[in-house]
């Protein structure tokens, strides 16, 4: 029993990684007033580009770097459409998703063709800590991208709450008119947050393809990016609660995988369905808590209206 719980907990920590990168990126973007629903598409592109680079060069860090660059380019595209062209953000996000899904499938079938594994980031045992019984095994025998995801939480919290930049981001999302009159460059802040979100989505994708699963196939993410957006609502735009949500989901995922591997007699389709049902219930429950999104979310900024 103990071994099972340790196994599930360890895998839950691992699987929280892509959610954490993508959700924190989305949180920062939404706090500045930009809703990006295309996370899943950017994750797919990040996952593909990292995987392809590693397959061809064997260099994991180069793979991660390429995913970051691809994520940044997508972020720039999203920012241009949502901020400069003031597009309806719900629809443009779906456009980004369809584009990312199609392009990553296209590139995969022309440049790779078959599903094949690569050697991803190896586990990195933290000296001393990894020897602690139970906790060491669960927390400190993971790979570097997992540590990075968890380190991102306090970092994002600090930047958002304790720095002038964080204040500007939240002001732009809450009261763009006021922020504008105080000389905050709204367009620049929103470009910054959306590109950062793109980069983090790219890393989220890379964490799947070169650190957790170590493969790429068409539609590898299977809607993870949308769950990451839902987690932002779940987390009420706060990094700490986003972390709790991500862990909840990754635990559901870990249990689902364990059930499948063990061949327990629950149809796998039901266990696969669980994360999505949980998302809907959680979103409905959140609404009861009357937490409001940033006031300017999904509203393009128009000066002097």
């Amino acid at each position: 029993m103990e071994a099972i719980i340790i196994g599930i907990a360890k895998s839950a920590i691992r699987l929280a990684t892509p959610y954490l990168y993508a959700s924190i990126g989305e949180t920062i973007g939404q706090l500045s007033g930009v809703l990006n629903l295309g996370v899943d598409g950017v994750m797919l592109m990040g996952a593909f580009s990292a995987f392809y680079t590693v397959l061809k060069t064997g260099n994991l860090w180069l793979g991660l770097l390429v995913a970051i660059v691809v994520g940044a380019i997508f972020g720039l595209l999203i920012a241009f459409i949502n901020v400069t062209l003031k597009a309806e953000q719900g629809i443009s996000g779906i456009g980004v998703y369809i584009f990312g899904l199609g392009l990553s499938s296209l590139l995969f079938s022309t440049m790779i063709g078959t599903v094949q594994p690569v050697n991803g980031f190896p586990p990195l045992f933290i000296p001393g800590l990894s020897n602690i019984p139970v906790i060491g095994e669960i927390l400190f025998q993971q790979n570097i991208l997992v540590y990075g995801a968890f380190a991102l939480i306090p970092l994002a919290w600090y930047v958002l709450n304790k720095t002038p930049l964080g204040l500007s981001i939240r002001a732009v999302g809450q009261h763009p008119q006021a922020a504008d009159s105080l000389g905050v460059n709204i367009v620049r802040i929103r470009y910054f947050t959306v590109i950062l979100g793109g980069i983090l989505s790219g890393i989220a994708g890379a964490s799947l393809s070169i650190a957790l699963l170590n493969v790429f196939q068409q539609n590898l993410t299977n809607g993870m990016g949308f769950i990451a957006v839902a987690l932002v609502y779940f987390g009420a735009w706060r990094p700490k609660t986003v972390l709790i949500g991500a862990l909840l989901f990754s635990t559901v995922n870990a249990i689902q995988i364990w059930v499948q591997v063990k061949g327990i007699n629950i149809p796998s389709d039901f266990t696969l369905m669980m994360p999505y049902i949980v998302t809907i219930i959680v979103l409905a429950a959140m609404a009861k808590r009357r937490i409001h999104p940033p006031a300017a979310l999904n509203k393009p900024f128009e000066r002097g209206e």
Binding site: L85, I98, F99, R170, G223, D269, I291, A295
Partner: protein, 365 residues
């Protein structure tokens, strides 16, 4: 029809040309294969129209939802529930007269789509759950539900006997095959779709309920102030949207496939029509009549892309990518159009100040 969708289409085509060149194929040959695949013969044209039919149903559903100011991204799930329920009805009552069974199956498909979308509408109207997220989650739930049923309770008995276990149902009784229009794959469902396009237009622009639905999409505060039960009409918009898409799913089964099957993924049965229908609706300027040619164009692209894949080895995923770009170009260029017409149509989106202050208080706590 405004020029924006056409410009968006041409721009996407230009980028497609660049991509094809990168793949080492002469774009002219590729596009020729695509055109020939979509329009080259009577069968090709029929395939194009058959492919366009579910896109039109989804596009019409999307039009209603968008006009009410809500986004229904759940076309995939609503197609699946419509197809699944119609299939189950046909499997269970094979001895009913064909035309009665067809009507019952289509109605059941329509109802299940309505209910599936209604869940999202209810959660949006009464719990303020983001409808984009809930509809996407419902897509996955519907797909896994279908997969479960196809791998067990409704699997073709022949598959079980042969031991091949392909997740699909038996072929439905031929009595429920929708009539063919000409000796091709073209079926009666296309006519139903076009009739519904006209009905949706009349509904939205010529009836009081349709007017109210459009009004809450235009200005929710003003609608509330003028006494419209906004929540009720929001749910209604979702229900109608899902009903059309569910009907489209049922027609796909009775008109094209004559059975239900899955490849395990969400889009295995729908061929992503739930997403491509959104592209069709946007391309048709969110107008039911405009959605007809838009669906045809997309149907041609998708049909042509399949043939292009076989002829010159360009993966049909290319068209998926271009569809995404079309969406981006259309929504991106809305701003330019708005700026041109601003003097005529002042912007309707206003923010209530008191609401903002409340939010600020919450935030500062």
């Amino acid at each position: 029809m405004s020029l924006i969708p056409i410009a968006a289409f041409l721009l996407a085509l230009l980028i497609g040309t660049i991509m094809i060149t990168f793949l080492g194929v002469n774009p002219l040959i590729a596009y020729q294969a695509l055109l020939k695949g979509a329009f080259g013969s009577m069968n090709a044209i029929a395939d194009t129209v058959v492919k366009a039919t579910p896109l039109l149903f989804v596009g019409l559903g999307i039009c209603i939802a968008f006009r009410a100011g809500v986004l229904n991204i759940g076309g995939e799930g609503q197609l699946v529930t419509g197809a699944l329920s119609a299939t189950i009805v046909c499997l269970n009552f094979p001895n009913l007269p064909g035309w009665i069974l067809i009507i019952i199956a289509l109605l059941v498909g329509l109802l299940s789509g309505a209910i599936w979308a209604g869940i999202a509408g209810f959660l949006k109207a009464y719990f303020n759950v983001n409808e984009i997220l809930s509809t996407i989650m419902l897509n996955y739930i519907a797909a896994y539900g279908m997969n479960y049923l196809l791998r067990g309770p409704i699997m073709d008995p022949l598959q079980i006997k042969l031991g091949s276990f392909i997740p699909q149902t038996a072929r439905l009784t031929q009595a429920v095959d929708l009539p063919r229009l000409i000796p091709t794959r073209l079926h009666f469902g296309t006519i139903v779709a076009v009739v519904f396009a006209i009905l949706v237009y009349i509904f939205l622009w010529r009836t009081t309920i349709g007017f109210r639905i459009r009004m809450i999409g235009q200005n929710i505060q003003a609608s509330r102030a003028s006494g419209i039960n906004v929540q009720k009409y929001m749910v209604l918009a979702f229900v109608l949207s899902g009903a059309l898409i569910g009907l489209g799913g049922a027609i796909e089964v009775l008109g094209v496939h004559h059975r239900l099957f899955t490849d395990g993924s969400v889009s295995g049965f729908t061929g992503s029509a739930g997403f491509n229908g959104i592209v069709a609706a946007l391309f048709g300027q969110l107008h039911p009549i405009g959605t007809i040619p838009a669906s045809l164009l997309l149907g041609a692209l998708l049909t042509g892309a399949n043939k292009m894949q076989r002829a010159v080895q360009i993966p049909s995923a290319l068209i998926g990518a271009l569809n995404g770009l079309i969406v981006l170009f259309v929504v991106g260029s809305e701003y330019l159009r708005r700026r041109q017409t601003r003097r005529v149509e002042p912007t309707t989106k206003t923010e209530s100040n008191s609401q903002n202050k409340n939010k600020d208080k919450k935030e500062s706590k």
